[in-house]
Amino acid sequence: MSEMVTMPTMRPVDVAARRDAESQTTRETVFDIQGLQASYGSNVAVKGVDLEIYQNLITAVIGPSGCGKSTFIRCLNRMNDEVPSFRHEGKILYHGIDLYGDGVEPVEVRRRIGMVFQKANPFPKSIYDNVAWAPRVLGLKKNLDERVEKALQGAALWDEVKDRLKRSALGLSGGQQQRLCIARAIAVEPEVLLLDEPASALDPIATQRIEELMHGLKEEYTIVIVTHNMQQAARVADRTAFFSIDSDESGRYGVLVEYDETPKIFTAPSDKRTEDYVTGRFG
């Protein structure tokens, strides 16, 4: 917890100040989330989320455990469909199209909106096949070798693995495995990358590599990252959404407290709860 206490005096401010102050008005809206409520059975996980996510920016979602940030991000590519008890209300518009609308295929959604998970989950196949599997399945078989190389380069992994593409992916280090998962995701050329705490199981050096990688990836992709590490959000994100936990007679549920440019969230939050959280007084 000591890192959180010292937070306000250190890097986030410098880093945030360096960033080009891009105005979101010039950016196209990728996700327009309106009044989203997501629940598992009778448990409401998040409630009343209104949020716009902009193209080619990194948007961080931060907040304490149980505030529904993972639930939220999993709504964006319909991964929650796999949970039988999942229900949602409200709308998620992706370029104006309702993601949960009639005739929308989850499979098509997930191809365009890729996801990387908390724990690296490479398939028990070779490094090459990990990246090539999805393009093959989706019928993108032309120039497969080039596609694999491009994806591995995009994930800053190519130089480390180019001589052992046929070896098992399970022999890679944790950080390499996670970058392989990123390579796997970008191999099908999605527009959006959802990263669900991608560095939480990694050591600081591997984490730094992932963060550097994200800065490069945002040229081509729109990135949404869930993280419980506030410094990480401050270092990488253009905009930050702070979720917190509310409760009423029906139980505890996550809410979106504040959503703004990252420097503002960390230096001049407008909500007391945000301030308490980013200064380490809570969470």
Binding site: N77, M79, E82, P84, V107, E108, V109, R110, R111, R112, G114, M115, F117, K119, N121, P122, F123, P124, K125, W133, A134, V137, L138, L170, C181, R184, A185, V188
Partner: protein, 295 residues
């Protein structure tokens, strides 16, 4: 520092000693019961080996069936070929269906649909094999000549729940993170099963199949009405009744010719060796694929 009233003693009183004796007794009886299992297996193997080993020879394994009371030595080649074909055909039927049932139960079925099908599979597993024999007779043999296909169907019914169960167990061992990873790439569920889940589970499926083969090879009842009146030479055509080990062991053991009893013991030894070896191979395979999955 113990005071006079609370002198510390770690020597148990009578009650503690009694509990120790009861504990010892329970442990001993459980150990004896476990030894009994090994003992029974040992006695069976020993008895069959003692009576059957004398008859075993290359000629016995490769010769045609002898005429009764002819005095010729004869052999069991037609039985080995017939049993092989019957079990092979049964495996061909039961393996794809059994794996698909397991895939449905573990990967697609909602809990409400799953429960009754799971129950049906479990009941099928407990179905007395003579009932399978009668069923197959009524369905496929009655009104036709006996044939190998009917026997194979009977054996397939025996194998089906075994393969399904084994496949289910390994599918459950496949980490759900792999499925999620595949789905998140835009793969359909079936593609995920085919490309990610089943390859991981392959070792376990093979093991289950080998165990089912060992079991089916030793089944008599499903064949009794389907393929029990056969010739003395090798038959490759399942359209006709196929000679097979288990039914012939039964026939020989009922025979009045003492020479046939020896043949029955020798055939039983061959069958026993096959079943023991395949079971052991299967278990080794299973241990290996478990280790691979748990890594």
């Amino acid at each position: 520092m113990a005071t006079v009233e609370h002198a510390l003693s770690l020597r148990g009183d009578r009650r503690v000693r009694r509990r120790r004796v009861v504990n010892r007794l329970a442990e001993a009886s459980a150990t004896i019961a476990a030894m009994l299992a090994i003992f029974v297996l040992g006695v069976v193997v020993w008895a069959i080996a003692k009576r059957g080993a004398g008859e075993l020879s290359w000629g016995f394994l490769t010769g045609d069936l002898p005429l009764p009371f002819s005095g010729e030595s004869g052999g069991i080649a037609p039985l080995l070929v017939g049993s092989g074909i019957l079990v092979g055909l049964a495996t061909g039927m039961a393996l794809p269906v059994g794996v698909l049932i397991a895939v449905f139960l573990e990967e697609f079925a909602s809990p409400a649909v799953r429960a009754p099908i799971q129950l049906a599979v479990d009941l099928l597993n407990g179905l007395p094999s003579i009932i399978i024999g009668v069923f197959v007779f009524g369905l496929l043999v009655y009104g036709h000549p006996q044939n190998g296909w009917a026997g194979a169907v009977g054996l397939a019914i025996v194998m089906l729940p075994l393969i399904t169960r084994a496949t289910q167990e390994v599918l459950r061992l496949v980490p759900s993170a792999h499925r999620e990873g595949a789905l998140a790439l835009g793969a359909s569920r079936w593609r995920t099963v085919l490309g990610i889940t089943l390859p991981s589970a392959l070792g376990g499926i093979l093991t289950g199949t080998v165990l089912a083969i060992a079991r089916a090879t030793g089944e008599t009842a499903p064949l009794l009405f389907a393929t029990s009146i056969f010739g003395r030479t090798i038959n490759w055509n399942p359209g006709h009744a196929m000679p097979n080990l288990t039914v012939q062991i039964f026939i020989w053991s009922e025979s009045a010719d003492p020479q046939d009893h020896k043949r029955a013991w020798a055939s039983a030894l061959v069958l026993l060796i096959f079943v023991l070896v395949t079971s052991l191979v299967a278990r080794t395979l299973l241990a290996r694929s478990r280790r691979k999955l748990n890594r």
